[in-house]
Symmetry: C2
Subunit: 385 residues, 2 copies
């Protein structure tokens, strides 16, 4: 059965100090339900993608609490967690349930509250996605992981500091026009290079910020989407795989097996290739991640992501625009919400209603990673216009 | 498509101070996989039911980490959370995926580590299942919730302190012979009544303990279970519903809508009634909960649960045995693991291999609740012998 995204909703991503997890989740959910034209009573499942609601706010059981806030009773409501890929993983399970006919309408919500905590508390929360029995105990953090990836990528492929900085410059430029983005301010290459060191060679402007936010999707089948006149987009593929859960399990730290496998499976299911994709919202938690991911997703050969980011002619897919939302670097990274937020952005592009509209966008891809690429989702979405 | 439980596994429930979440989860999972006879490579999804791994141990991303420990790659691995009903909720989603043909084999693991923390830390963790924006901020705890339920039940129906104590006495008696149980020691009615007050009228021996443990299930379809010769049990119904998420939303605190609705839907799907059930593993987090739940599940009329627990003749279903595992009161309550643990116990009964074997057990029911009955699952399992 064809699976459609019938409606989408999102709060602003940013610093929302006066809002609870519950209230921003409900705001995004109500917007998505209204957008879909589907009566709330048709919803059979509520999946809440969330990573560290427990650690950061002391709140779990978000499924039933948010469902109750939305006036939904007797639905199957749970939280689904896969670190920074939580809500796209939830979308994958919802997709499977609808595709097979087990459910008719599933509400998928991504939500996180990360601001207002100390740096120490935030780092402790984020490293919950690193195995505390091994690499967590050894002190590994995500800036350190990506710094190792970046140093290795520069060593192996001659990627330059300037090429990596170009990712931030591009994504910040896109962020200027995205009203949902946490950062709506341009930066220059010199500002990136002069920003304070975080974990060498990563500097502050190479990092996405900590963010509060929520985004939501209503998934349904083709029949109901047509019946209710939903402004639908088709899910051509939805894939979730696990990759190595520890960096010591990597053969080569610049190749993320989870992304490679998720992408190849998604292309096969959708019957398309990386050369067919018009827009990609990929997981640029750090600027170098966009380079690595764009290679692992097949957009560029391994080692060509750096020159491609800097606008060099090695670009394989000249019609592709990467992170026209501004990406995590501009929109911010409300971890549990990011996956649904990426899908929100691609849906808006495929409807032709995005503030940074890519002309004639017909096929969009989202890529969302949890941990050290230990959980990876790839979605391919197709315009029905 | 008929959905079967092809294999089950469990660690001992109790105080496991030297074990990580990951290691006990993997132990239960390996046992379930071996029990099923199904090759691990057939597993497409790994669902880890867990409530407070983040708050208590700082560990999230349990899906990919445990999948990697089991040598599984490119599977869809996530954590599913619904407070104390986390792993039975995960089983419900796995059931739906297999029933509809979206997946062939799903590994469902429940796991929790609760011991070793201060009482304050444990209470903080448990109240993550209460809305922190309302009743959590007001100081509500689970002993207080169930104390209100118990006081009201005594007031409305004349339930006596002795009848409630009889639940603990019965379940502790069953626990003596269950090697997986945390408590394997009998208690007398006088010992229950003389135990220290916790939240009046609840006393210490009315409460289940905090527990470490893991249990796992391998779910598959009829075809594969037969192909691999699995010692299978059929899932006749698997239901998850949300009930009121705040006690202020209850019409009557001694009637838990979530349980009533989940049970009536499960009986309808399975085509049976409460009078057909031979064994029930229900959520006796406090002794009075067994009385309330046994009424809401339809085993006794409302108000008759107390006399029934005390062995009076008002028992509607004389062939029914409740919590022959010893229940949460004896086995302990490793919150995220409890749902799978209950299913483990019923499967062993339906295979005729339980230490407290109920003769001719053919139909078993599990009931698992999260929060103030905000998330409720009911499973009905059928013997294939």
């Amino acid at each position: 059965m064809n699976v459609y995204i019938a409606g989408v909703g999102s709060t602003k991503f940013g610093v929302l100090p006066d809002r609870t997890l519950q209230s921003i989740a409900a705001e995004a959910a109500r917007a998505a339900i209204a957008d879909s034209n589907i009566p709330p009573a048709r919803i059979g499942c509520v999946f809440v993608g969330n990573f560290v609601g427990g650690i950061m706010t002391g709140q779990e059981l978000l499924g039933p609490i948010i469902a109750a806030d939305l006036g939904l009773s007797n639905v199957a409501a749970v939280k689904i967690e896969a670190a920074c890929a939580s809500s796209s993983a939830a979308a994958r399970i919802a997709y499977d349930l609808i595709r097979a006919g087990a459910e008719d309408v599933v509400l998928v919500i991504g939500v996180e509250r990360l601001t207002g905590a100390s740096r120490h508390a935030l780092t402790t929360a984020m490293t919950a996605a690193i195995d505390q029995g091994t690499e967590g105990a050894a002190g590994l953090t995500f800036p350190a992981f990506w710094a190792m990836v970046m140093a290795r990528h520069m060593h192996l492929y001659g990627t330059t500091r300037e090429q990596v900085a170009a990712v931030t410059v591009k994504n910040r430029q896109f962020g200027v026009r995205n009203p949902l983005a946490q950062f709506q301010k341009q930066v220059t290459p010199d500002e990136v290079l002069a920003s304070p060191p975080i974990s060498d060679p990563i500097r502050r402007f190479d990092c996405c910020p900590a963010t509060d936010g929520a985004a939501a999707l209503v998934l349904t089948n083709q029949t109901l989407a047509k019946h209710y006149g939903s402004p639908a987009v088709r899910i051509a593929a939805s894939v979730l795989v696990n990759g190595p859960a520890r960096i010591t399990d990597y053969d080569e730290i610049t190749v993320h097996d989870g992304t490679v496998h998720a992408a190849s499976r998604a292309y096969e299911i959708a019957g398309v290739g990386p050369e067919d994709i018009n827009i990609a919202e990929l997981h640029d938690c750090f600027s170098v991640a966009e380079i690595v991911d764009s290679e692992d997703l097949g957009f560029f050969a391994k080692g060509e992501g750096g020159p491609a980011a800097a606008g060099a002619s090695s670009v394989r897919n000249s019609k592709l625009v990467i992170n026209p939302s501004g990406g995590l670097l501009s929109k911010g990274h409300p971890t549990g919400a990011t996956g649904c937020g990426q899908i929100y952005e691609v849906v808006m592009q495929l409807r032709g209603r995005h503030p940074n509209q890519v002309p004639n966008a017909r096929l969009g891809l989202t890529h969302n990673g949890g941990g050290t690429a230990a959980a990876v989702t790839v979605h391919i979405l197709e315009s029905l216009r």
